[in-house]
């Protein structure tokens, strides 16, 4: 049962990474490519971590996995804002 949950969530996560790549390659301008990238960042990694949570033994290993995900979320959200400021058409506002 837990294995089936892992297979479903990890597959969904891998799908979002694939979607992020396709979006990064196919979308027409920098800001929409950034939009595709954040989906892979947040949902892809989140679903992979969720799937792996069913496999770990012990609460400490699970907390560590969640910690990795939270760090990636925080970093991704911050960095995406910074890149968007650099990439916006009018340039960076004063």
């Amino acid at each position: 049962m837990l294995d089936a949950l892992t297979i479903v969530t990890v597959s969904a996560g891998a799908f979002f990474f694939l979607a992020g790549t396709v979006g990064l390659l196919r979308f027409p301008d920098a800001l929409s490519r950034l939009h595709a990238l954040t989906k892979a960042d947040n949902l892809g990694l989140g679903l992979v971590v969720l799937g792996l949570l069913f496999q770990v033994e012990g609460p400490f290993a699970a907390l560590k996995l969640i910690g990795v995900w939270l760090l990636a979320l925080l970093a991704g959200a911050t960095v995406t804002q910074l890149i968007a400021l650099t990439a916006r058409p009018g340039g960076r506002p004063e």
């Binding site: 990890v10 992979v48 290993a61 990795v68 990636a72 970093a75 991704g76 960095v79 890149i83």
Partner: protein, 89 residues
């Protein structure tokens, strides 16, 4: 289960490697750093999947370091872009 996790790791890595084509195409610096950002996140996911597949918990520590460094890369890029603009370049 280990086989499935290994296959998923390979799939994620292949997808992210494909995204590196964006670095070749450009056109702007922001696009290149986006592909590098995707490589960082995909690398974290791959390492976590490998840690699960081969029961090597140390790979989770490597993933944690990669998450930290991937964040620094983009912050360094934005800082560099700002100072280049201030220099009038």
């Amino acid at each position: 289960m280990a086989d499935f996790l290994l296959a998923a790791a390979g799939l994620v890595l292949a997808a992210v490697a494909l995204g590196l084509v964006r670095i070749l195409r450009g056109p702007s610096d922001a696009d290149c750093i986006m592909a590098a950002q995707l490589l960082g996140t995909g690398g974290i996911a791959t390492l976590l999947l490998l840690a699960g597949a081969m029961s090597t918990p140390a790979a989770v520590d490597v993933a944690l370091i990669l998450a930290l460094l991937a964040a620094f890369v983009s912050v360094a890029f934005v800082k560099g872009a700002d100072s280049a603009k201030a220099d009038g370049a």
